[in-house]
Symmetry: C2
Subunit: 235 residues, 2 copies
């Protein structure tokens, strides 16, 4: 039987991650310049190779850690890309992951070391190979997930204000929501806990901080927690 396996052609397997971050204003993704290729000047997703004794998720975690120093990041498989000519150097299948992280957690020293940079989703540069396609898919999936699950919180710090949360959702869906309707909807899910601490410095009045109620958060009943399939008006 080994023969049947040995006859088959093998292939390199790469992992590439679309790393989303939110700075309170805009939704961004983290891109790097790879030091190694002739396309030294081209921005690309963070990626690496699958090693012999690791699973795909494991490898994606490892690569993210190597690049950012972060562990326990929300990481979810998106899709495999396998056009035989996608990498001109050698046939490679790339398995893509989408990561959500709080920009404030991110270690800037590492950023500089590997020449990584956050880019606004609206002003992305040209990307390596088929990486633009990967980003487009990631955005699509992020939207789909964010309307079904309270997933967006991975992108926020532990304490956040309602205006921040609304900004985030507006950035994800590239639209505007009515403040009152948005607040009502979010509060009705009971996944938010109001603290009595106020944000200082940003606005004069200051907005109350909220935290995530993790009990409810994990509860599957928050499935479809926002019905954002028809938000006030999607552009």
């Amino acid at each position: 039987m080994l023969d049947l396996y040995n006859k088959q052609s093998k292939c390199l397997v790469a992992l590439d991650s679309i790393i989303f971050g939110f700075d309170g204003e805009e939704l961004k993704i983290l891109l790097v310049k790879r030091g190694l290729e002739e396309n030294k000047e081209t921005w690309s997703l963070m990626g690496g190779w699958l090693q012999e004794n690791e699973g795909l998720n494991e490898a994606a975690d490892r690569i993210l850690f190597e690049h950012t120093g972060l562990k326990d990041v929300y990481l979810e498989q998106l899709a495999a890309f396998g056009n035989p000519r996608r990498d001109p150097v050698m046939r490679t299948v790339s398995v893509t992951y989408k990561a959500l992280l709080n920009i404030a957690d991110y270690d800037h020293k590492l950023t500089n070391k590997i020449s990584a940079k956050w880019f606004s989703l609206k002003k992305l540069p040209e990307l390596l190979f088929d990486h633009s396609e990967m980003v487009a898919l990631a955005v699509e999936r992020l939207r789909a997930n964010a309307s079904l699950y309270p997933i967006g919180f991975e992108l926020l710090p532990e304490k956040f204000t309602l205006p921040q949360l609304q900004n985030l959702y507006e950035a994800i869906f590239d639209t505007k929501f009515d403040k009152r309707n948005f607040t009502r909807k979010l509060l009705s899910t009971n996944i938010l806990t109001k603290t009595d601490e106020k944000q200082k410095g940003f606005s004069k009045k200051g907005a109350f901080y909220f935290t995530l109620n993790k009990e409810k958060y994990k509860d599957t009943s928050s499935y479809n927690f926002l019905s954002l399939t028809n938000p006030d008006k999607i552009l």
Copy 2:
């Protein structure tokens, strides 16, 4: 630079498809017994190897064609599975696809040749490797898609009755819908065209056949065409 590529370990890439079919009553999936392994007696998904010069979708199409004789089947990538020990013979990454086909189109001569068999989703046998996990994911995605897009029609013959359509959706979601609400909702999408032909033999009264209005069907406005996120009562 080639060095950097050549140092990396390569890996077999397999494709496995979860093939859904509907017989008017139950939702089924097509399984095969692979002739080649020591687990001759274990049912498994239809699968094959990625070849040197083909893309992933291309390979999935080819493998489906080789097994069933069918072309132009609805086929969509699900996910890659890459646990390093998932295939005990040799490290393999499997990219899975979900296929929807009309059981009546399926060629039974081929079926017998390769010892393939339709199994009710509710009575699946033990499956090879991690194939059960793959099936579970496929069902989950099928449900998600079927509530957002009028995808279920791929599973029906060209002419179908409203009761058949309802049976299909009930099978997908493993629940019951109210006949009147279901009919109203479906007809309101305008993707169905009533014919004046009636189904004979099954019921005494006979149900009218409908066909799919392909214009509307392709229209993206049918996005979220059924809001089946909260159907009458999901179990």
